[in-house]
């Protein structure tokens, strides 16, 4: 079936009143779920899967509902990042960097609406690329070997070199701490338990969510309490700001670049929204004409990039799941499980055997993205008013939500102690003037880097030359060099031009 007829039959399924209703419900519920700190797409889908199954819906309808929740939550994740500086999940960490400063300046409405537009573009570009080139991309994605992932991680680290701000030593130390956290748990290549100290709860390592909620969320809450107790609390100004056409024009190339990068990173099995948002943020900061000086202080490019990137990745992750039956992320793994629950075998044959599900789902993603934009733009003002809740109520409320969020997925009280301990650790780091983003990125990227490096070396039997033996990896190393060198070169040229002019 070619794309046009496939899509039109898909829209015929997705536009049935029941399915249309479900996609709207899913998107709305997803946005709310995603906006809660601690509950992101992965737990949103996981928690609602049994409900969707229990409703006795036909498989395509249930899947449309779950997928609506999935990208709805990806949209919603930015809300608590921007307003509260508490990311809902690992993919929303980078959104805090410029989103929260904007909210502090009284431009919460602008930040929320701009990021909704960026999310919409990321999601829509992803689903367009998916319908046009899905199978082709998936067959490219599987050729990505562990050695190529190593190169991709080197590229990611290179693009993040821009995060090395005022204090390179502390940034590197932070990344190193993240890397150390990532080594906890059973080592896949030897089966040896590392740094678990006989505690069974961390045998499988520490979950991303725990690190994100602990280091960011809890640390932020402790900081809020401290500010309140010491009487330094300032009321945040709430302007009735909204995204302007000029804003969108300013970030249009940022959004396009970030959507594309995010989508491709999402297509690769093994990397998802968190890597995508980190790479897009880093890339935009490197490419910034002002040398990235205003990034981290409420730059709208720094806000648009990770949001377009993580929503692009959310769409991209669906590609290997639908075309190959290989999940590209934790959430798509759950969607895959959902398909199996409904006795639909995902994989190469699904487009032929169950086209109503495959194309219906894709069509519902077009509708879902539009629905999310329509839902999210008017709600931006409403959500922004959340900041008018007095701090003494807001802080405990967020704390309770974060605890419920963590407990609801993992159901292990040990993790609640973990987030408290990590929160204290994060607060101390903040007191010592460490940035927390490098810690998280060290954790996410470092874990992937180590796993893939060791996979590559097991494949080659310990021969390091495997790392530079494929076209993919050489291109990525080349890009890594470029992204470090070009801004330096540009800056130097600008300086010499200023010198000749003057």
């Amino acid at each position: 079936m070619d794309v046009i007829s496939g899509l039109s039959s898909g829209f015929a399924v997705a536009l049935l009143p029941l399915n249309l209703f479900l996609v709207l419900v899913g998107c709305f519920a997803g946005t709310l779920i995603g906006s809660l700190p601690g509950i992101g797409p992965i737990n949103g889908v996981a928690i609602l899967l049994p409900i969707a199954y229990g409703l006795g819906l036909p498989p395509e309808s249930a899947l449309i509902l779950l997928a609506g929740i999935y990208y709805g939550a990806e949209y919603g994740g930015r809300i608590s990042s921007i307003l509260l500086n508490v990311p809902g999940d690992a993919g929303a960490v980078m959104t805090t960097l410029d989103g929260n400063p904007l909210a502090r300046k009284g431009e919460a409405g602008r930040a929320l609406s701009l990021s909704a537009v960026a999310s919409f573009c990321g999601g829509t570009i992803a689903v367009i690329l998916m319908s046009l080139f899905g199978p082709l991309l998936a067959s490219f994605a599987v050729t990505f070997s562990p050695a190529d992932y190593v190169a991709l991680m080197v590229f990611a680290f290179a693009s993040l070199a821009s995060l090395v701000g005022k204090n390179p030593i502390k940034t590197l130390l932070g990344a190193l701490m993240g890397l150390m956290l990532a080594t906890i748990g059973i080592d896949a290549n030897t089966g040896v338990a590392r740094y678990t100290f006989g505690i069974p709860d961390i045998l499988a390592g520490i979950d991303f969510l725990i690190v994100v909620i602990g280091l960011f969320g809890m640390a932020e809450l402790i900081h809020m309490v401290e500010v309140q107790v010491s009487g330094k609390l300032k009321l945040l100004p709430i302007g009735k700001s909204f995204v302007s056409w000029r804003d969108i024009m300013t970030v249009k190339w940022t959004i396009l670049r970030s959507s594309l990068i995010g989508f491709f990173i999402g297509v690769l099995p093994g990397t998802g929204a968190s890597v995508a948002s980190a790479v897009t943020y880093g890339t935009e900061k490197r490419l910034d004409p002002d040398g990235g000086r205003t990034f981290g202080q409420g730059n709208i490019r720094g806000l648009a990039a990770p949001e377009a990137g993580n929503n692009g990745a959310a769409g991209g992750a669906m590609v290997p799941m639908l075309t190959l039956g290989i999940p590209g992320s934790g959430t798509t793994a759950i969607l895959l499980g959902a398909l199996l629950l409904f006795n639909v075998q995902p994989g190469p044959l699904m487009f032929e055997m169950r086209p109503e599900i495959a194309w219906g789902l894709i069509a519902s993603m077009y509708i879902g993205n539009v629905a999310l934009l329509v839902i999210n733009l008017p709600m931006a003002g409403l959500f922004a008013r959340m900041l008018t809740i007095p701090q003494k109520y807001l802080t405990p409320l967020i704390a309770v939500l974060a605890f419920i969020g963590v407990y609801s997925v993992v159901g292990n009280p040990f993790d609640l102690y973990m987030i408290i301990a990590l929160g204290l650790f994060g607060w101390v780091l903040r007191k010592l003037d460490f940035a927390l983003a490098p810690v998280i990125l060290g954790f996410v990227l470092g874990g992937l880097f180590e796993d893939n490096l060791r996979r590559a070396l097991s494949i080659s039997g310990g021969d390091w030359s495997i790392l530079v033996s494929s076209g993919n990896s050489i291109v990525l190393y080349g890009l890594a060099v470029l992204i470090v060198a070009v801004p330096v070169w540009l800056a130097r040229r600008q300086r010499s031009r200023v010198a000749t002019d003057g």
């Binding site: 996981a46 059973i186 896949a188 961390i202 006795n343 159901g411 292990n412 494949i459």
Partner: protein
């Protein structure tokens, strides 16, 4: 001519036979010791749907990830040891973890195995265009140079995925530790690695191959089941019949705490036994990609404990434990 005794006996028999009257099990719960969406989730779904006619209340599935199942066994060996209403999903992987001491001090004697959901089996898979057309081709390549073939799977060294490869190598007298084994993060990534050419042989499961049958991308060289399986797998030989003494059965089932009353334990075991008799249960097993391996109660408990003892021997020979 009905004597009161006979009536009572019939009534009693009727109560015993009709599962729904199992009054002890209230608000039944199946604990999947992992995140949703994986094999343990599937195991619990089988209990949830398969036992529904036998239970009064609908069964709830809860998730308790952490430490590859260690968190769940820890809880059921310390605080919920006598919970009459909850069963916890296990697989051969959990049994291997018990055998190799990954669950710390908890052993098979700290729980009671109560019923099975079904079984899956190991499968040796290569890419369709692989030079290894048969299992013999692959094993000959191993004999020539044990490091000549890159093997991969979704589990770490010492996991059951690794054990499949280790058993194959052991069957031709090669040292498992010498193998070039690539540990991926789950079966999906490993299949991607196989299709992309990073690894040459994939140690998978029969059940996960169903969606890929007939897609023309992968070739199943052999199954690691004790004997041939029914359709759609009837055409594939077992490793044993090809002359390699390597069998890997992935048993999926449920355990309870060790202090559960015999009454509650038997109520669950009877519910499983009653379900095994039904066509619906067989249908659910099939839909979830499992083969029947129906066993419940003390028979299962004894069988699993024997299985763990065997695993301990295998693990010792493979150098996983001292």
């Amino acid at each position: 001519m009905k004597s009161p005794l006979k009536v009572a006996a019939i009534a009693l028999a009727a109560t015993l036979m009709s599962g729904p009257a199992l009054a002890q099990i209230e608000k039944p719960e199946c604990v999947a010791p992992a995140k949703p969406g994986g094999g343990f989730d599937l195991t619990c779904r089988i209990a949830q749907q398969g036992l529904a006619p036998q239970l009064d209340d609908p069964m709830q599935v809860t998730f308790m990830p952490g430490g590859i199942g260690a968190v769940a066994i820890n809880l059921f060996a310390t605080t919920r040891t006598d919970d009459p209403n909850a069963i916890v999903a296990f697989s051969s992987g959990s049994l291997l973890n018990i055998a190799t001491g990954k669950f710390g001090k908890w052993t098979e004697d700290d729980v009671r195995f109560v019923g099975t959901a079904g079984a899956d089996f190991g499968a040796v898979v290569v890419r369709e265009d692989s030079p290894y057309q048969t299992l013999d081709d692959l094993m000959d390549a191993f004999k020539e140079d044990v490091k000549g073939v890159v093997v991969g799977a979704g589990g770490s060294v010492g996991s059951q995925d690794w054990m499949k490869a280790a058993l194959l190598l052991k069957s031709i007298g090669e040292e498992p530790r010498a193998m070039r084994y690539v540990a991926f993060d789950g079966g999906g990534d490993a299949i991607a690695g196989l299709l992309g050419g990073s690894i040459q042989a994939y140690m998978g499961d029969v059940g996960e191959m169903v969606p890929h049958l007939g897609a023309g991308q992968m070739r199943i060289l052999a199954l690691m089941s004790p004997e041939r399986l029914p359709e759609p797998f009837a055409e594939y030989p077992t490793a044993i019949e090809l002359g390699y003494d390597a069998e890997w059965t992935i048993l999926r089932g449920f355990y309870m705490g060790k202090d559960v009353s015999d009454e509650a334990y038997n109520a669950w075991a009877d519910a499983f036994k009653a379900a095994y008799e039904t066509e619906a249960f067989a249908q659910i097993q099939k839909e979830k990609g499992l083969m029947p391996l129906n066993m419940a109660g003390d028979e299962l408990d004894a069988s699993v404990k024997k299985r763990i003892a065997n695993l301990r021997d295998v693990a010792r020979e493979a150098g996983l434990i001292e």
